[in-house]
């Protein structure tokens, strides 16, 4: 069987990570930022699964970790959206630059 080499998967996850990172840095819209964070988390998930499959096929630690991350990502998304809604209520905007209360 002609297996996909590990490097391909790592390239994919790295690309995904930096796309997420780029979104994180450049977007002002909080929803987009949240989506970028999800991308980063998923790139990590891919890494976990890939390393588990290629390096320790007899174990399942990596898969378990992925499950944890997905669960936390869900919780985090809920929390983040709650924050965003609250911010929107206060500022009528979901632009991060509008929330400057904590600035010096």
């Amino acid at each position: 069987m002609n297996e996909v080499p590990l490097t391909h998967i790592l390239v994919l996850s790295t690309a995904l990570f930096f796309i997420g990172m780029f979104g994180l840095f450049t977007r002002r819209n909080m929803i987009t930022i949240l989506m970028s964070v999800e991308l980063i988390l998923n790139s990590v998930n891919i890494n976990f699964v890939a390393f588990n499959k290629y390096l320790f096929p007899e174990k399942l630690d990596g898969v378990f970790f992925v499950l944890f991350i997905i669960a936390i990502a869900a919780a985090e998304a809920a929390l983040a959206i709650a924050i965003i809604i609250n911010l929107y209520r206060n500022h009528q905007s979901i632009d991060v630059d509008d929330a400057t209360e904590m600035k010096f």
Partner: protein, 640 residues
């Protein structure tokens, strides 16, 4: 004889007076405070006389000399094994002699002040200060150790300060009191360093130990202090000269004399007590006390002679030109102290006449000079002015003052048989035996002394005839009594065979007057009196003519040879402007500036970096990410 049973009372009674009057006097017994203080000092005087009787007559000479007795001794503050400040009472001929002088003059001044200061609002305070001074002065003369003498030295200084500034709402009195304190304090700096030097090398502050160890050429202390040198002069000489500076400051010797004429701002009885008879001779007393050590150093003795002689002469010249009666007397005091000082300076190891003569003069001078001041007090009281120009023809108004003043003038001029004659003759004789040049200047000065004293006398009691409407009386009994007593003393104390009591080696010094020698000084004194009479007996313009004839020199003497101006220049201009001001400036601008600058820099820096806290989430993310990357680089690649 057990002196310890009562001698401590002599200084402590005035101290008790001070405490009592100082704390409660003003409130509870302002009026009677004078009596209280006078009674206390009277007891002290009687005890002093009793001591003197016991010491000189009843006990007398033991083993060929008067003994030095330490009547009381206790450790007060100990520093190390050898050095400690002790408090003790030393009884020897000079301290007993001084006890009599101080208590007696103080008693007279206390009595005089009863009338003179009557009606003064701060009557109790005045007597409290007088008592404080008497206590300090008595403590000084019975000191058994160098540090103790320094302690009381400072205390007399401060009592003098308080009394000069007694009329504290007069700016001139305040200035004079400050000046007196600071100038003597400056001199005391020398004294203190001298004490430290002698104490360190002599390994004791105690007079007896110090003298024993330093005069014994074999002792390690003596070797150390004479072989050690600084700037080419032995430590011994340095120490002695420094101590002498302290004495010169207190005794108003040139060039540290500038405070004395100004000190006349104090009440006149105070001038009589402190600035004529007792405190100002403390310097002479100090040198006499340490004389065995002073005699070890030729240089120190020469310094004393030169300083003493120049003070004598300069003060006499200035006295001729002054117009304030008390200032004339002040300069005359300075001149007479100069006499005492150079007499000490010329005392050699063989010929010790100078020592006796000096202390004899101190003794007689106390009586006639305090008398002069008290007379000046009654005159000022009568005229309400210090200026000679406001006086004249007072003979008929205040006859008793006139008579006593005349006696005192004759005494200071050295006319026999008054007291000053005997002591001055001895000094002149001592000078004649040791140095002819000194003798010449001294003789000239004694002529000038007679001249300016009689200038004062004739200007006040003769000269122009003042018409005084409703003259008030000369004064009450308490004013007249001291004048009479002191006048009698000024006549008789000269006949005391002083050499029998006080001599450099505590033995008896045989001295007899040689009347052939006395001839010249007496004639010169007499001529000077005649000269003064010629100028000042009647109102005329001869004095002015002479003054304008001397021109510049007269002006210089009148302005006290510009020493005051020099001091003011040094203190105000140089010390204030070149040391004080820069110090304050540096502190405010450089030292404190650095502190403020540090604070400002930190503030600026925090302003600078506060931009980092932009409030933009993405910026923080960037820092976070950058941080991780750099940590990665550090840990993965650079950390070896």
């Amino acid at each position: 004889m057990n002196y310890a049973s009562y001698i401590f009372l002599i200084p402590l009674l005035p101290l008790a007076g001070f405490a009592l009057l100082g704390l409660f006097g003003k409130k509870y017994f302002n009026e009677s405070s004078g009596i209280i203080a006078t009674v206390l000092i009277l007891v002290s005087t009687l005890l002093s006389l009793y001591t003197a009787y016991n010491y000189f007559i009843a006990e007398g000479i033991i083993n060929g000399a008067y003994p030095s007795i330490t009547a009381f001794h206790t450790s007060w503050l100990s520093f190390s094994k050898n050095l400690s400040i002790d408090i003790g009472i030393l009884i020897d001929p000079i301290s007993v002699m001084m006890l009599i002088v101080v208590t007696f003059i103080s008693l007279m001044v206390h009595i005089f002040s009863l009338g003179y200061m009557k009606g003064e609002k701060r009557f109790a305070t005045y007597y409290a200060f007088l008592s404080l001074f008497t206590f300090s002065m008595l403590g000084l003369i019975i000191s058994s150790n160098l540090f103790q003498i320094y302690i009381f030295w400072e205390l007399v200084g401060v009592s003098s300060f308080l009394l000069i500034g007694f009329y504290f709402d007069k700016p001139s009195a305040v200035a004079a009191s400050k000046k007196a304190f600071i100038v003597t304090r400056f001199a005391d700096l020398g004294f203190l360093i001298g004490i430290l030097l002698l104490g360190y090398y002599g390994e004791s502050f105690e007079f007896s130990t110090l003298i024993r160890q330093l005069t014994d050429v074999q002792s390690s202390q003596s070797i150390a202090i004479t072989t050690g040198t600084f700037a080419g002069i032995s430590i011994l000489t340095w120490g002695l000269i420094l101590i002498f500076i302290g004495g010169a400051g207190k005794s108003a010797l040139f060039p540290l004399h500038i405070w004395l004429p100004d000190a006349m701002e104090g009440p006149t009885p105070v001038s009589a007590l402190i600035h004529a008879a007792t405190m100002v001779v403390a310097g002479v007393f100090l040198v006499a006390r340490l004389f065995p050590i002073f005699s070890l150093s030729e240089i120190a003795l020469s310094v004393i002679t030169v300083v003493g002689l120049s003070s004598t002469f300069i003060a006499a010249v200035i006295a001729c030109t002054q117009t304030d009666i008390k200032r004339v007397l002040a300069y005359s005091t300075m001149s007479q102290i100069g006499f005492m000082m150079f007499a000490l300076g010329m005392t050699g190891t063989e010929n010790t006449l100078g020592y006796t003569a000096s202390l004899f003069h101190l003794f007689t001078h106390a009586f006639f000079k305090s008398l002069l001041f008290l007379c000046a007090g009654t005159i000022i009281h009568f005229i309400h002015s210090n200026e000679i120009s406001a006086m004249g023809g007072l003979k008929k108004y205040i006859p008793l003052t006139h008579l006593t003043f005349l006696i005192a003038c004759l005494a200071i001029a050295g006319i026999p048989p008054f007291a000053g004659f005997f002591s001055k003759e001895e000094i002149l004789l001592a000078a004649y035996n040791s140095n002819k040049l000194v003798f010449g200047i001294a003789l000239l000065t004694s002529g000038i002394t007679a001249f300016y004293m009689f200038r004062l006398y004739f200007s006040i009691f003769y000269n122009k005839q003042m018409e005084i409407q409703n003259p008030h009386s000369e004064g009450s009994f308490s004013i007249k009594f001291p004048l009479v007593v002191l006048a009698i003393c000024s006549i008789v104390v000269g006949f005391i065979p002083f050499g029998n009591f006080v001599a450099a080696d505590n033995k008896i010094l045989e001295s007899h007057l040689d009347f052939r020698f006395s001839f010249a000084p007496v004639v010169i004194g007499g001529l000077s009196i005649l000269l003064a009479m010629y100028f000042y007996k009647n109102e005329n313009d001869k004095p002015n003519k002479v003054a304008s004839f001397w021109g510049k020199i007269y002006q210089a003497a009148f302005r006290k040879f510009y020493v005051d101006e020099l001091y003011i220049f040094i203190t105000k201009k140089i010390i204030f402007n070149f040391i004080g001001r820069p110090a304050a400036w540096i502190d405010k601008n450089i030292v404190d500036g650095l502190v403020n600058e540090t604070a400002r820099t930190i503030e600026k820096f925090s302003y600078m970096i506060k931009g980092i806290q932009s409030g933009k989430v993405q910026h923080y993310l960037l820092y976070f990410f950058g941080g991780i990357i750099s940590l990665l680089i550090v840990f993965v690649y650079l950390w070896k």
